[in-house]
Every structure is written in C-alpha cells, then in structure tokens.
Symmetry: C2
Subunit: 168 residues, 2 copies
C-alpha cells in the first residue's frame, strides 16, 4: 500500500493523534444525522422509513437487480428486506418480475410513482451534499472520498467500487 510520503512526514503525523481521531469520529456522528435528516422528514409524512429509501435508491441505481443482490448491498437479512419490499410493491412503488432465466429470482424495478418518490428523496439529499461540497471545495471533497473509502469494510468497498465504476 503506497504510504503517504509527503513533505515533513514527521510533523504531519500529528493528524493521527487520539484527539484528532476523536474529532473525526464525532464529525462522522453529527454529519450522518444531517445526511439523513432531509429524506427522513419527507419519508415520515408518507409512513415510510430509511429502509425504504435505501431500497429504492439501489433499485434505481441498478434496475432489474435481484433480491439477493440487494441483500448483499444493504447488509440486512432477506426477511428484513422482504418486509420493506412488500410494502413498496403493495403501494405500487416497486415492481417485481419473476426471472426468465431463473424463475426463483425476482427482478426489481421502480414504477413511475416509485421513481418520482426516489427522485424527491435523492434531490433533498443531493441538495445538502452539494451545498457541503461547494462550501468545502474540490480538494476537500477528494479527501472526503478518500477517507470514506478507506473506512469501508472490504465487502462494502466491493459494492461501492462496482457502483462507482458503473456509468462513471
């Protein structure tokens, strides 16, 4: 792994003190609340929760994905996901199609109504993220991404990278 070999390597190690790390941890905690606040507000009105948002986000990202696939990405049990999917399907936001090649699989798509809600949610979340990005500047954003990627578990990083490379 290519270690950072910048100038004044001795001095810059200050960024690894427990105190700096602790600040990072608290920043992560408080920021994540902001990250989910806007979609949560919208969802509460409709009687949905964060789990519905996550499902719709990733169905939108890869239409036709299977339940199993979604399971691996979301990192929950199939039973948990199923409850969420059931309500989304009942409410006409998600469409589930039996696979043609393998009839055990269900391929998931957003309906028009589902796409509309997903768009509303993701717009709210994107607006805040965009404001933060603009305020912090492009170099900060690059660093933000770099740290987050290094923080992911191996499995999650695989999913993330797969998405990152899709339709770059």
């Amino acid at each position: 792994m290519a270690e950072n070999a910048g100038p004044a390597a001795n001095e810059t190690l200050l960024f690894l003190t427990d105190d700096q790390i602790r600040k990072g941890i608290e920043a992560m905690f408080f920021a994540y609340r902001g990250f989910t606040a806007d979609p949560d507000r919208i969802l509460a009105v409709q009687g949905y929760g964060r789990a519905h948002h996550r499902a719709m986000h990733f169905i939108n990202r890869s239409p036709g994905t299977t339940v199993n696939n979604l399971l691996a990405i979301l990192g929950v049990t199939k039973q948990s996901l199923n409850r969420v999917l059931r309500t989304l399907i009942e409410d006409g936001l998600v469409r589930s199609e039996v696979g043609t090649r393998d009839r055990r699989e269900r391929h998931l798509y957003l309906t028009d109504a589902g796409a509309a809600l997903e768009h509303e949610l993701s717009t709210a979340q994107r607006d805040r993220m965009r404001a933060a990005f603009r305020q912090a500047g492009p170099e900060a954003v690059a660093g933000f991404r770099r740290v987050l990627e290094a923080m992911m578990d191996g499995d999650m990083r695989r999913h993330y990278v797969r998405f990152r490379e899709t339709d770059s």
Copy 2:
C-alpha cells in the same frame, strides 16, 4: 462565507455534478457501516446496542453532564434515552448524582466498569479511523473534516464545535 476561489474555477466545478454528488452519498452510506461495525460487534456480545455506546461516549466526553444536556446532543426523546440510561445504571456502568446547585438535575458519570467498556469500544472505533486516516493522508483528512462539518445541521454543528474546542 468565503467561497472557494482556487485556480481554474470553471473546470473544478465538475466536482458538483450529480454523479459526483451521488458517489459522495454512496460513500457516506457504505463508510458509515464500517464506522459502526467494530463497536457493534463488541456490544452485541454484552446485550447492548448502539444507543448505549453513544450515551457512554458523550458521558465520557463531558463527565457530570446532565440528562437534558445529553438529550440535546443525542437528539432523542427523554423516554428513549432514559431506557438506555436505566439499564446502564442498573448494570453499574453509569453513576447518576443529584446536583448540588440544582437538585433537580442528575449529573452522569461513567463508573470504572463503564469507563473500561467505553474504552474498549472507542479503541475499536479509533483503530479503524486511524487506519483510514493514515491511508488517506493528512490533507485528505482535513478535507474529510471540512465536508462533514459543512454537512451538519445547525444544532448539531453547535454541539460538535463545542466539543471540538473543549480541551482541544
């Protein structure tokens, strides 16, 4: 607020495209899982959850804090927090002392056992954060913090800043 006025301002606006923002959103989602994974594993063994971790973290950060104070930081209802605090007090991890100046208040402290568990949890979390910081480098870390701070809600930023400036 001082807008970024770096060189090639035209070109660098590319970092604000919807696609870049979406990558940031997904990075945040996947990274937060890694962020909580290690403490969650430890907590599961003891029958506690993330809520207990958060309470202990902030009691450790400001010993003697009141219930009301903790409520504002954690952003939950008193009923929710009380359930968690009750079990922590019953199990001898947290001590609650009636205030001397204002006897309505309860001041919260970690017991030795509580401090030990808190330390175990925060060590696990810090280790991962430190690894990510080291891998990403000091400039990336600065950017990471900058973006997260810009992402916080106003109230949360107030709490964060208060902590950040305490015993810097």
